[in-house]
């Protein structure tokens, strides 16, 4: 059996004037998390809907768990779980009723469906709310119920379409825990996200989609390396010493670069950074800072953040061409 649990080749789908998928290839190894990253409207959801048998592509081939999605959708449906972008639980039904219904539709006996529902509700910390209508649930509880619903059939492959959109950070991390647990139990997870942090935290490999095309497929670290080398970042304890720190960092700048005040998205002002060739820069910078009498709060070598990678990939057309 092939090691790939999701395989798609040349998927194309057009909605009216929008080419939602313009020749997408995907590959996910068994037992891993594949993060599909892209801006709104990139085609992430369309790709998931094709793989989850909800949508027929205009062109292309897709295989999930070794089964042709277009030829045998029902067989694929027995092996997948899907949690959509919007919590698709039935608000008028209770938590238990929602999960039991899914179990019955998956051909469990009513008794097994109830047992499985109780297990999942307990695992997702929803036992107390099990008998309440889902419309009384908070946003986070609905998401958990929705995720539980996709796990009723113990799926081999789980599709999560922006599973944490709208969740607060603590709930988001709970969700990440759930995803990691699924992997340890043998499932494979394909998740779409707009949060680079999320892809970085969960994904073994990342596919970047923009305008219906895959523009990169690599490990998180690999992606970061492809876009840029290491960056050395220093935060002087006294913000007035920033110009002095810049002079020190210029000593180790890789060819063609110079130190600059940190303006990366979301960065707290007051830090300076410089692209460096390798980690020997530390050997020069640390004594030099000491000698100049600059006290630092923070000093480190970083790969570029996925934010930077993402912007480079989606906005810089020549770079895109180079990477494909």
């Amino acid at each position: 059996m092939t090691d790939l649990v999701v395989r798609a080749e040349g998927l194309r789908k057009r909605f009216g004037k929008t080419q939602a998928l313009d020749g997408v290839d995907l590959a996910m190894r068994r037992g891993t998390v594949l993060g599909v990253l892209g801006p709104n409207g990139a085609g992430k959801t369309t790709a998931v809907r094709v793989l989850a048998t909800l949508l027929r592509p205009d062109e292309g081939y897709a295989e999930v768990a070794g089964i042709d999605v277009l030829e045998h959708p029902q067989r694929v449906r027995r092996r997948i779980g899907l949690t959509g972008q919007y919590a698709s639980v039935d608000e008028d039904l209770t938590g238990t009723q929602n999960l039991v219904l899914i179990g019955q539709l998956l051909d469990l006996t009513t008794r097994d469906a109830r047992k499985r529902a109780a297990e999942l509700l307990e695992w997702f910390d929803l036992s107390e709310a099990a008998g309440r209508q889902a419309k009384t649930y908070s946003g986070g509880m609905r998401r958990r119920l929705d995720l539980a619903a996709s796990l009723v059939g113990r799926p081999e492959v789980i599709f999560l379409d922006e599973p944490t959109t709208g969740l607060d950070p603590a709930k988001r991390e709970d969700m990440w825990g759930v995803v990691r647990t699924q992997i340890t139990q043998g499932s494979s997870v394909l998740l779409t996200t707009q949060y680079l942090e999320e892809a970085d935290a969960l994904a073994d490999e990342i596919v970047v989609i923009n305008k219906g095309r895959v523009i990169a497929h690599d490990t998180p670290d690999g992606l970061k390396r492809r876009v840029g080398g290491l960056t050395l970042r220093v935060r002087p304890a006294d913000p007035r010493r920033v110009p002095d720190a810049l002079r020190v960092l210029d000593l180790v700048a890789s060819p063609g670069n110079s130190a600059s005040a940190d303006t990366a998205a979301g960065a707290r002002p007051g830090a300076v950074s410089v692209p460096v060739a390798d980690d020997t820069a530390l050997d020069i910078v640390v004594p030099a800072l000491r000698q100049a009498g600059i006290e630092v709060n923070d000093l480190g070598l970083h790969l570029p953040s996925l934010d930077e990678v993402f912007h480079a990939l989606t906005e810089d057309a020549p770079l895109e061409a180079e990477l494909v």
């Binding site: 067989r75 698709s88 009723q97 051909d107 695992w123």
Partner: protein, 275 residues
């Protein structure tokens, strides 16, 4: 956490065979989905207004406001004439909510989950239609009950009355597939109501629901004769207050079969296409 362990043999072909065969599975899935719709109906009793209060209002309106004028002062005999007709109109209208609910379910993404499960494409629609039996039964009970309070009397007998109710529900179940189809086609659930009213008002007013068709101009009589509501009303009248039944009954059954043959495939196809 042994309970959540994935069975490594889950790729066996066994899991591809639905328990008890494909047909048994489809029936079971439809029943499970019908149960879902019923739970929703019970949880939101206000959604029953169109099959309880609304027919009662029509009954009061036409009996007490128009009834005297239409029948030359004999309100009781007009009620005897009107109620079987209004029953037919109320059943046709009773199906509107179904199309609206299905449209809303699709918009909310609830149906995406059903589509990602190994159930027959038709199961979610068939289940929802089956659950609507309860609403059509409600229409019949409310109208006959309230009509009795207003002075309506069944002039035939118990069995013909039961047959009238059964036929009415059967017609409701056939007619509602139009609403299901419209629900699959239009973008918002509000539009379902608009489209269905455009269809149902000509059918119910251009029939013998409210007045005898021989009082209408010739061209309108021609429409009344080809209107599916007309034979239904004639049959229900025959079964409740007396009159010929066999002829209009066959016509009604033919219409029901025709509605199913045309609109079930249309609705299923529109559902499959709706991404």
């Amino acid at each position: 956490m042994t309970t959540l362990t994935i069975d490594p043999t889950s790729t066996d072909l066994d899991i591809d065979r639905p328990r008890g065969g494909a047909f048994a599975a489809q029936v079971r899935h439809s029943v499970a989905l019908a149960r879902r719709s019923l739970i929703k109906t019970i949880r939101t009793p206000e959604a029953l207004i169109d099959v309880t209060l609304q027919p009662v209002i029509f009954l009061l309106l036409f009996t007490y406001i128009f009834g005297g004028a239409l029948s030359g002062g004999d309100r009781h005999s007009y009620l005897q004439y009107l109620l079987p007709g209004l029953l037919a109109q109320s059943l046709a209208m009773g199906g509107i909510a179904l199309g609206q609910n299905l449209n809303a379910d699709i918009e909310k993404g609830v149906f995406d989950r059903f589509r990602s499960l190994p159930v027959a494409r038709s199961a979610p629609l068939v289940g929802a239609v089956a659950a609507d039996i309860v609403r059509y039964l409600t229409v019949c009970v409310v109208m006959l009950g309230f009509g009795t309070i207003m002075g309506f009397r069944i002039e035939t007998g118990f069995l013909p009355a039961v047959a009238a109710v059964a036929l009415a529900i059967g017609f409701g179940l056939s007619f509602c597939w139009i609403s299901v189809w419209v629900g699959m086609l239009v973008r918002t659930s509000g539009a379902v109501q608009g489209v269905m009213f455009l269809l149902i008002f000509p059918l119910s007013f251009g029939s013998n629901v409210f007045v005898q068709s021989n009082t209408l101009p010739g061209w309108l009589q021609a429409f009344v004769h080809v209107n599916p509501i007309t034979p239904l009303v004639n049959t229900i009248r025959g079964l409740l207050v007396g009159g010929p039944v066999a002829g209009p009954l066959w016509q009604t059954l033919a219409w029901m079969a025709g509605l199913l043959v045309v609109f079930v495939p249309l609705a299923l196809r529109a559902y499959a296409r709706r991404a």
